[in-house]
């Protein structure tokens, strides 16, 4: 068994709500809102105008620059608006709104590649760029960027992340159970592109069915299944690398600095579909869950589907909602409106009933050290919290606050209920402000 030594926490689990439910198709929405920015990097540029008719899979936004990704129509219909619409990040974002014609008509002439492993890595990367594939674990880093390291970085290993350590979420679990062959084929393509022999798929040990399915699918391929201890944040990129390979990504660096490329299992499937069938990324599996939704489930959802449509199709809200999150409870983002769209990186929608939301005042830090012991980056979260409270964000720099991955372990364990991650984000924002002023 592989694990992060010492650090990390064992939060609530709650995956039982959906872990045994097969992936179903969400009823197609009447309209989708497709943000031009669903990835880290520059937003894409619209290729359509209001009034245009579009078909499913049609590219409607072109990548702008290297660190960017195109977006595609996820349904067929008519472009009815282009402009700023609510984005799950909490801001507004330029988006293309498509009204469905109800036909779900695909574009013609998708290029299939039955012999995809014979393709040149350059060709494969072009396919991936054009399919708009980004990291589907949540960070949404454009996949082709990771696959194009500078020449001096020698990559020796590809890791697939199937850890899914966030409580409640089961989308990757179900994906591995039901689409294990596609995961392995996607992994083969990724390894072929990088020219590496070593490939691991990391899965937490609370998913025996996924482990079993992946072992079967990977047997004879040389791809290894690494069973990880169930521990949060086992699936954070840096922790996954440390657990499986024993290597640490240098502070401020990237996995490529130590010869590793990490992709989510969902991303591998998207890569396979793009390469084999020419299908761009227009849908994903989303775990819709929580005690505040009538019918939890794992659903295949078109990108751009609005939250209120998802909730309606899942039987509606159960009782009064307290918080609705995009993502899991540890790192998910609370939404203020139901008019936000599902994005390429939306792994889950979690509805927490009002009575389960605890809003308590925090008290003084009692220096118990639990956050220090829980921090997977081995930082001193207690110091950040105190600095933020005292209004001294500058002091936090000396304590390497920029290394913080905001996983939430410190806040989870704090007996004084201090909002440590919130305070860390405040400090980081203050630092950005100060930097912008100087520049």
């Amino acid at each position: 068994m592989w694990t992060i030594a010492g650090e990390g926490i064992h939060p609530i689990h709650e995956k039982g709500l959906t872990s045994s439910l097969s992936v179903g198709d969400l009823k197609l929405p009447n309209k989708v809102v497709i943000p031009l920015s669903q990835h880290i990097g520059a937003p894409s540029e619209p290729l359509v105008r209001i009034g245009d008719s579009v078909r499913k899979y049609q590219k409607i936004g072109e990548a702008k620059g290297f660190v960017s990704a195109p977006v595609h129509a996820s349904i067929s219909g008519k472009v009815i608006a282009i402009g700023k619409f609510p984005h799950p990040s909490g801001n507004q974002s330029n988006s293309i709104v498509i009204e469905s014609d109800g036909k779900d008509e695909p574009v013609e002439g998708l290029t299939e590649h039955p012999d995809y492993l014979k393709l040149d890595p350059k060709e494969l990367k072009d396919i991936i760029v054009n399919a708009g594939i980004v990291g589907m674990g949540g960070a949404t880093f454009p996949t082709h960027v990771k696959l194009n390291p500078p020449k001096e970085k020698k990559i020796d290993t590809v890791l697939l992340n199937g850890a899914e350590c966030e409580p409640y979420l089961t989308a990757d679990d179900r994906l591995m159970v039901e689409m294990s062959r596609e995961v392995v084929e996607g992994m083969k393509i990724l390894m072929h592109i990088m020219g590496v022999q070593e490939g691991h798929i990391g899965i937490e040990d609370d998913k025996p069915a996924a482990i079993e399915a992946m072992r079967k699918a990977a047997s004879g391929t040389g791809i290894r299944i690494s069973v990880l201890e169930k521990k949060y944040p086992q699936g954070a990129e840096k922790q996954l690398i440390k657990s499986i390979l024993g290597r640490e990504v240098p502070s401020g660096g990237l996995p490529m600095d130590i010869g590793v490329v990490v992709q989510n299992v969902g991303t591998a499937v998207a890569v396979y579909h793009a390469v084999r069938y020419g299908i761009p990324l227009i849908e994903r599996i989303v775990t819709v869950t929580g005690q505040g939704i009538q019918r939890p489930g794992n659903l295949r959802v078109r990108i751009g589907t609005l939250l209120d449509h998802v909730i309606t199709e899942c039987g509606g809200l159960a009782g009064e909602p307290g918080k609705i999150l995009f993502g899991g409870p540890m790192m998910g983002i609370a939404q203020h409106t139901l008019h936000v769209p599902v994005l390429k990186g939306t792994s889950g929608i979690l509805v927490i009933p009002k009575e389960d939301v605890l809003l308590k005042d925090f008290t003084a830090c009692i220096r118990c050290g639990r956050c220090v012991q829980a921090c997977p980056i081995r930082l001193l979260p207690n110091m950040y919290s105190v600095f933020a409270e005292a209004g001294k964000p500058k002091d936090a720099e000396k304590y390497y606050i920029l290394d913080c991955i905001e996983c939430g372990c410190c806040t989870y364990v704090c007996p004084s209920r201090r909002p440590i991650v919130h305070q860390i984000r405040y400090i980081k924002a203050e630092m950005r402000k100060a930097k912008n002023k100087v520049a």
Binding site: I82, K238, K323, G332, H339, R367, C368, G369, V372, Y412
Partner: protein, 349 residues
């Protein structure tokens, strides 16, 4: 293209906005663990219950009176100060209760009521609230108050009744603690012979002279086991503190058993077990890293045994912990964990 977006935005603004249920917005994480300060503090009180009951058994009502007055004083002082200073009265968090009970357990049974009152008020007012309250105090308030009382009222603080178990019908007589006997033997220059001969069973169950809560090793260990099981304390400080006392004491005992007491004597007499598990481990005043806690515990142990063997006081646990409390910020600085990915980054950049 940009102009088109702006124009269309103006035209389409608000079209998709419909009323939304009121949703709560906070930063992640959205789930929290179950532990709270109240739970931790009242668990410590619970863990001190066996030792308190043992004290009651061996010293009777004279012990009960001290415990009651001490706890009433610390809780009263806390409420009073918070009220006067306009803060929320937070005696429910249990921290003042812990301080009161710990202070009582370090006092001689039958000590006068005013001693408990002075100790309780000193602990809360001077050692805790003046620094800003829970979390900001550099010293463990209970220990600091005990040290204050020991220096200010040496007579009352060293009058030790001989155990007279409840219902045994014995009269309360005063005697000495084993460590006190040892010091007298040491200072008079005679061999320590008889003084260091201890009935281990009596010391284990608590049938010896001493403070209310320090005499019964078994009762203290039951409470400590509970706290370790609940993960409210870790083994690091107790083990390194007790280990250092026994190792250091053991070395001198092996060199000269006529002059120095054996390690078991050090373990079972005085306040070592009480201090190591319940006072040195005080979260507020000990280092935050496990490595720092090991160093902190070793320092406590070393100072304890040095005072016991060569100091002017028979017992040194309280002084040791207070002195190491001073060193806590320094230890924290030097035991900062090496962060993930640090070494390579420093080497290459």
């Amino acid at each position: 293209m940009a102009e088109q977006i702006v124009a269309e935005k103006e035209e389409k603004r608000g079209r998709l906005e419909e009323p939304t249920p009121k949703l709560i917005l906070t930063s992640s994480p959205h789930v929290l663990g179950e532990d709270s300060i109240e739970r931790i503090m009242w668990s410590v009180v619970l863990a001190l219950l066996p030792a308190s009951l043992a004290g009651l058994y061996f010293f009777g009502w004279s012990a009960l009176q001290v415990i009651v007055v001490c706890m009433a004083s610390t809780l009263g002082a806390e409420a009073l100060f918070q009220k006067i200073s306009g803060n929320r009265v937070a005696i429910k968090d249990g921290s003042a209760a812990v301080t009161g009970l710990l202070l009582a357990l370090t006092l001689p049974p039958g000590s006068p009521w005013w001693l408990s009152v002075i100790g309780g008020f000193f602990a809360i007012m001077i050692c805790k609230q003046l620094y800003g309250g829970l979390g900001y105090n550099p010293f463990n308030p209970a220990i600091m108050a005990r040290v204050f009382l020991l220096i200010a009222f040496p007579l009352q603080m060293t009058r030790w009744p001989v155990p007279h178990p409840l219902f045994s019908g014995m009269d309360a007589k005063t005697g000495a603690t084993p460590l006190g006997d040892l010091q007298v033997a040491r200072l008079t220059g005679k061999g320590i012979g008889d003084a260091a001969r201890l009935n281990l069973w009596d010391a284990f169950i608590g049938n010896i002279g001493g403070s209310i809560g320090e005499v019964s090793a078994i009762a203290l260990l039951i409470g400590a086991a509970y706290l370790i099981y609940k993960q409210y304390i870790t083994w690091h400080i107790p083990l390194s503190m007790i280990g250092t006392v026994m190792a250091f004491g053991g070395i001198f005992w092996m060199m000269n058993p006529d002059k120095y007491a054996n390690p078991l004597f050090h373990l079972l007499t005085g306040g070592l077990i009480l201090g190591a598990f319940f006072m040195a481990t005080d979260m507020v005043t000990c280092p935050v890293t496990l490595k720092g806690q090991l160093i902190f515990g070793a320092g406590c142990g070393l100072i304890t045994v040095i005072i016991r063997m060569w100091g002017g006081y028979p017992e040194g646990v309280s002084f040791a912990i207070v002195l190491m409390n001073i060193a806590t910020p320094l230890i924290d600085i030097y035991t900062r964990p090496v962060r993930y990915g640090a070494k390579r980054a420093e080497g290459t950049s």
